[in-house]
Symmetry: C2
Subunit: 406 residues, 2 copies
């Protein structure tokens, strides 16, 4: 009897759990402290009225035999798939068949579970810094190799993102099989333009790589910017890319759980369509998303719902811009904020990112996320999020300005 | 670049998808046909009023900043964990810590995903016939070996269940590492008594096996029967068993998606607590269950909610008993129905189970599930479910009685 030994290689526990523990300890020791949390990327605005109405109606459907819904179709309700097909893709010039779109309980599940359909021996390229789930799930899946003292895994190809390359990764020197990309990026908030993304698509096609493209923050790209919301806006991407999308940040669904994964039928590995493999994975190890949730998600594609969610997105992005402007005023360098809810900042005087975390928590009662938690190249950087209340965010910025502007 | 080659070993598609295709084809060719579906194990009764009320209240919570809920705790909301701890376990004499209980989006996901935490080389024992997900997920995970002409996989130890052993499996001749058990059983509907289950717990402890115990149908055991609702009612089970539970059949949640997995901290493999591995798996590759859903699930533990769901369970079980009684009247042998929503029947004259499926569909417009779909030992048997409308179920039984009673 054996366990999956790869699990034992993982470092003790998940980044945000560590932060939560530190904050809880501080709060317990200082019950009077007025802590402002700009750490985890969790939304705070309530669901919009159009979604609330749709959820109530769907609950009522479940109360009557004639409209009751049993097992959902494992791959998504047709009404939602059709909305996604039209509003998220066709309206941006991307034609997808309904069976290329998969509704799930969230992008975290899908970016983790997608590893199931790939061989263990594939070589993976991952940005550094990065959303920790990409790395951790590859450790669990046996693709990471051994943990090295420098904080990297021996078998992962790292795409380093620093101020020097404006946090846009360069093509790898060594050919990977699988490439994780996320734009607008978490944690750096940086977006990629079409020419920049085309370089990756061309590289993947030439080198027969699969790009796993996380577009969870695409809704934060202002409409007047000519930036890609989907990798499929780039020619040839259907032959080399899987895309993950999420309602979490787009519609405030972090507590509702709904995401979307696109696996085009043109994407083949050694002649095998990955679409069929993912369909098989999901029909066998997943049972679809709550009917109620899917009705709620569909409501964001109505004119009302769309207008309402865009107001929230604007609210969060505006918070990020307030943070960035305030930090810049006192000489701190920042990235992101324009096309994302995130502000990525360089710590003053090369301070270690966990030290900066402690300083903000202990001196200013502001919680952020240490860059090092996203990978070794994040050392010396720090993430603040625009997901807080606007007044509280301004208050946090004032505290930071007062402290660092002295 | 390689795919997970194990996926290519799987037979074309999932049992219930095949059935749906056959039924759709028949319906298209005979638009006037009055088809009664007693095939898939999907509920048909609407959610009970207590659950509906709780869902509406939870939706309202999501509409206001003060009560809005973001990311749920990945392992379950405390209010639901406490209800499960008390009503599902403590009230049956089983003491569990809250962090031994994991709330998920359903038992199908968990029984599939649990394979992540085990080594690939473990030997798996599975009943035949069986819920197909146990086999298919082990094929995907690389533990099944090669598919053989007899319908078995070369590396799986099969626990054959037939009329001869009253569909209760015997201890295996060869030692497995992992043993899947499900009681009351799907598809046979048979329950196990405490002495029978103790044999398995003792065997697993002596042989250092892990039992994966699927208790999805425990709520169908009448309270006046002295049968185990949880494997932890058996002494020593905490050291050798993981238990899966579900709100799908208990509370009509097939379309709402909520399940529970218990991994006791006493369960260790080579000194490693599986509880910690599953917690790591779920916090990394899953993001918790919708707050709204968890509020709905918690409502079944109120006195009102409990009474209401038990009425539905009684309704379904009564349907199963009506089916069994009708079939017995015309000389067909049946099992199950007493402690489950399922009737398992022997086909007349050793008819092949897919032939019997075609006969019921074409001649009587009744849909069931061929036993062969659950494994080779299911050949010659057939499953009907009590999840239909009571009147329609009686109508189906009349059709069967008229046909076979001639």
């Amino acid at each position: 009897m054996q366990i999956n030994e790869n699990y034992l290689k993982l470092k003790s526990s998940y980044l945000f759990a560590n932060i939560a523990r530190k904050v809880a300890a501080y709060g317990a020791a200082h019950p009077e402290a007025d802590i402002i949390k700009l750490g985890i990327g969790d939304v705070t605005r309530p669901l919009v009225p159009a979604v609330i109405d749709a959820l109530h109606k769907a609950v009522d459907d479940m109360a009557h035999e004639e409209t009751f819904q049993g097992y959902p179709p494992e791959l998504g309700q047709k009404f939602l798939l059709e909305d996604i097909q039209k509003y998220d893709f066709a309206n941006r010039g991307v034609q997808l068949d309904l069976d290329e779109i998969f509704v799930s309980d969230g992008a975290k599940s899908d970016t983790g579970n997608i590893g199931d359909i790939f061989g263990v021996d594939n070589k993976v390229a991952i940005c550094d810094p990065v959303y920790p789930v990409y790395v951790d799930t590859n450790v669990m899946g046996g693709r990471a190799g051994a943990y090295r003292e420098d904080g990297h895994w021996s078998n992962i190809i790292y795409l380093t993102c620093t101020a020097e390359n404006n946090f846009l990764p360069e093509l790898p020197g060594e050919r990977p099989d699988i490439i994780y990309l996320c734009f607008p990026n978490n944690p750096t908030g940086m977006a990629i333009d079409k020419a920049g993304l085309k370089k990756w698509v061309d590289y993947a096609r030439e080198n027969e790589c699969v790009i796993l493209y996380d577009a969870a923050y695409e809704a934060f790209i202002p409409e007047d910017r000519d930036l890609p919301h989907s990798i499929y806006e780039i020619e040839g991407a259907k032959e080399c890319a899987i895309e993950f999308r999420s309602y979490s940040k787009t519609a405030g669904f972090t507590g509702v759980r709904c995401g979307v994964t696109v696996v085009p039928k043109a994407l083949k590995v050694n002649g095998v369509a990955l679409n069929a493999l993912w369909a098989r994975r999901q029909t066998t190890k997943f049972n679809g998303v709550s009917y109620i949730t899917q009705r709620g998600a569909a409501a964001i594609y109505t004119p009302e719902g769309h207008r309402q969610i865009m107001e929230n997105i604007e609210y969060y992005r505006n918070n990020a811009q307030v943070i960035a402007a305030g930090l810049n005023e006192v000489g701190l360098r920042t990235w992101g904020a324009e096309c994302s809810p995130y502000v990525w900042l360089q710590t003053p005087d090369h301070m270690k990112s966990w030290d900066f975390f402690d300083l903000l928590l202990n001196e200013l009662q502001v919680v952020g996320t240490p860059g090092e938690g996203f990978g070794p190249a994040g050392e010396g950087y720090f993430r603040l999020t625009g997901f807080g209340n606007a007044e509280r965010t301004k208050e946090a910025v004032e505290r930071i300005k007062n402290y660092f502007g002295r």
